[in-house]
């Protein structure tokens, strides 16, 4: 697209040290586009996670200029001095470069619970063959909240607690609810939260995990 191009300095934390890449990029590109450009034209060994390129899969979260962001939804034009540092998320095991292993987070989330009722047009019956209008959950499991949360020890973390809360609200079976509540109010549950609420601030899709934790506390 025909917008302005400028020289950008992108510094990427690789193992222990930042490596600087200086390249000409169009201002309206994203950090993910910049990473692609570096990988394909300068250094094919650069590794980062990505899949959807539109803020839906959650794989591309990293720390851009000190804040947890989705690389695919962060535009170069947000950084007028054209110097941008990128490093992997905190609190996860680093596999290589910007690639982290998010399994420690997802393992704490309930399985088989990724759909919910759509909030759109609920008063209208859907066509035959559909019980209710549905949609995916908001949480894209990006790990930003976990990375930003200052509590690291013995705490399930923001997004697993938000997922557990959503699940409690969806379930009907008292036994299942009891199990989920045991997790939420167990040793690593809501009591661990220090109420910093940075989780809600960094969440790219407004899950507001902090609010879920507050609500869980209220429903105890």
């Amino acid at each position: 697209m025909g917008t302005d191009e400028h020289m950008y300095s992108i510094s990427i934390l690789r193992e222990e040290e930042y490596m600087e890449f200086v390249l000409n990029l169009s201002d309206e590109l994203t950090i993910l586009d910049a990473l692609d450009e570096i990988r394909y034209t300068m250094d094919s060994s650069l590794q980062y996670r990505h899949s959807c390129h539109h803020g839906s899969c959650g794989t591309c979260a990293c720390i851009i200029e000190g804040t947890q962001r989705l690389a695919c939804m962060t535009r170069l034009s947000e950084f007028p001095d054209r110097k941008i540092s990128v490093r992997p998320l905190d609190s996860f095991r680093i596999i290589s470069d910007l690639v982290v292993d998010i399994s420690s987070m997802v393992q704490k989330m309930p399985v088989n619970s990724y759909l919910r009722d759509s909030e759109l047009n609920t008063e209208v019956l859907p066509p035959d063959g559909i019980a209710s209008w549905v949609r995916f959950e908001n949480c894209i499991e990006c790990g930003s909240c976990i990375s930003a949360c200052p509590v690291s020890e013995r705490f399930l973390g923001p997004s697993p607690l938000a997922a557990i809360h959503t699940e409690i609200l969806k379930r009907k079976d008292p036994d299942e609810i009891r199990e989920l509540r045991a997790l939420a109010y167990g040793e690593t549950g809501v009591s661990g939260c220090d109420k910093h609420f940075i989780c809600s601030r960094v969440c790219p899709v407004k899950v507001s995990p902090g609010k879920h934790i507050t609500e869980l506390r209220r429903e105890q």
Partner: protein, 397 residues
């Protein structure tokens, strides 16, 4: 890593490669999957997100339409958590669309797609964002896919069999052949920079728009044209159903809602390099305008982003003129017959919706090649949740 049936390497960790790995593992093969980036970081992660029931293709090719219908039904059954199943609407906007309506419905029904015309007021009641000017509406069993989570469920299913080894961030850099046979592939593991060779009894090329490049490494000419398209997303979910324009399949005629977003696509051109595909100039205004015909008010929603990805079109040369006329069907190629390389199969083309079917066809071909008969079971087994992919730690390691 080998057993009685042998060890198979699958190259490419998109929907096609992962569904092929899953089927092979279910039938008892040991499989190593090689993907140069994150899983689905090629075209698969970046598609439009439409679960195609086939209605879009019914006028062009009944077989493709029928296959989409069949596969979309199976996916709804085996991966319900990765699909927003709210069905789809085809809407006629002008007289030309109207003249197309009857043939369209007929073509759908002939392709086993239960297309049903509904009164316009009912369509407007289903979807409030629809233009009040629409002249006709047909309900079809389309839906929305979460591309990453659908495919990760297949990967979780493969890991569950304990027959799969997944190697992300590992790039194939050479294919080592002798006497019309592939001995091994050379790969570089980008997580530590180390090079190694991997041998196997059979190699499957599932590299999507890169499949031509992979075949080239084995000295095989394979015509796969990377054919990119642009998609535009606005914030706010404008509909529950997928909404398509009732006319000859073209550009800018599908609106796919997903979570709290609404996506319009797509466009189509041919490129040489699937690595970096940038949005074509003019695509975004075009997509806004196309969306407005179905959803007036689309342009007033807040811009979210736009992106592009390359389709793997099989059997196309770079100078093809009318790209839209090209087949969306897929091909499984046994290179023993075609190119005298006795242990390589390519599986290319198709759609994200047909991933399981492509895996089945590729695995059938492998079984036939080695002379065993093992039935496919992937249509009948419900896949694990995508979250179970993480059960065994990083990519199952």
């Amino acid at each position: 890593m080998s057993n009685r049936l042998g060890h198979i390497v699958v190259i490419g960790g998109g929907g096609t490669g992962i569904a092929t790995m899953y089927d092979l593992c279910r039938r008892g093969f040991k499989v190593t999957l090689i993907e140069r980036g994150e899983l689905t970081s090629g075209t698969t992660g970046r598609h439009h997100g439409q679960l195609h029931c086939g209605a879009r293709y019914a006028m062009g090719d009944r077989n493709i339409a029928r296959e989409c219908m069949h596969e979309s039904e199976i996916l709804r059954k085996i991966a319900p958590q990765a699909i927003e199943y709210n069905k789809g609407l085809f809407v006629a906007v002008d007289d030309e669309d109207m003249s197309y309506r009857e043939q369209f419905i007929e073509a759908c029904l002939e392709s086993d797609i239960p297309a049903q015309e509904i009164p316009v007021p009912q369509a407007l009641n289903y979807e409030k964002a629809l233009s009040v000017k629409i002249k006709a509406a047909v309900v079809v069993p389309d839906g929305t896919i979460d591309p990453w989570r659908l495919v990760i469920s297949f990967a979780a299913g493969a890991l569950e069999t304990q027959n799969a080894q997944i190697c992300p961030y590992t790039e194939v850099i050479a294919i080592n052949t002798s006497d019309e046979h592939i001995d091994s592939i050379s790969v570089v593991d980008h997580t530590n920079g180390e090079q190694r060779t991997i041998d196997a009894d059979l190699f499957i090329n599932a590299a999507g728009p890169w499949a031509g490049q992979i075949a080239q490494m084995a000295g095989i000419p394979l015509q796969v044209a990377p054919s990119p398209g642009t998609m535009l997303v606005v914030k706010g979910r404008m509909s529950n159903m997928v909404v398509s324009r009732l006319h000859k399949a073209g550009d800018g005629d599908i609106i796919v809602p997903q979570r709290g977003l609404t996506i319009i696509g797509s466009t189509q051109w041919l490129s040489e390099d699937p690595d970096i595909v940038r949005i074509h100039e003019g695509d975004i205004p075009f997509l806004y305008e196309s969306a407005e015909a179905m959803f007036p008010g689309f342009s007033e929603q807040k811009f979210h982003t736009a992106w592009a990805a390359a389709r793997p079109l099989y059997g196309v040369s770079q100078d093809a003129e009318d790209v839209r006329a090209l087949s969306r069907d897929f091909a499984a190629i046994d290179h023993e017959i075609a190119d005298k390389i006795d242990n390589m199969v390519s599986i290319v083309g198709g759609k994200a919706t047909t991933l399981r079917g492509m895996g089945e066809v590729a695995t059938d071909m492998v079984c036939k090649k080695i002379g065993v008969e093992i039935p496919c079971t992937t249509a009948d087994i419900v896949l694990p949740s995508h979250r179970e992919f993480y059960k065994r730690g990083y990519h199952g390691n």
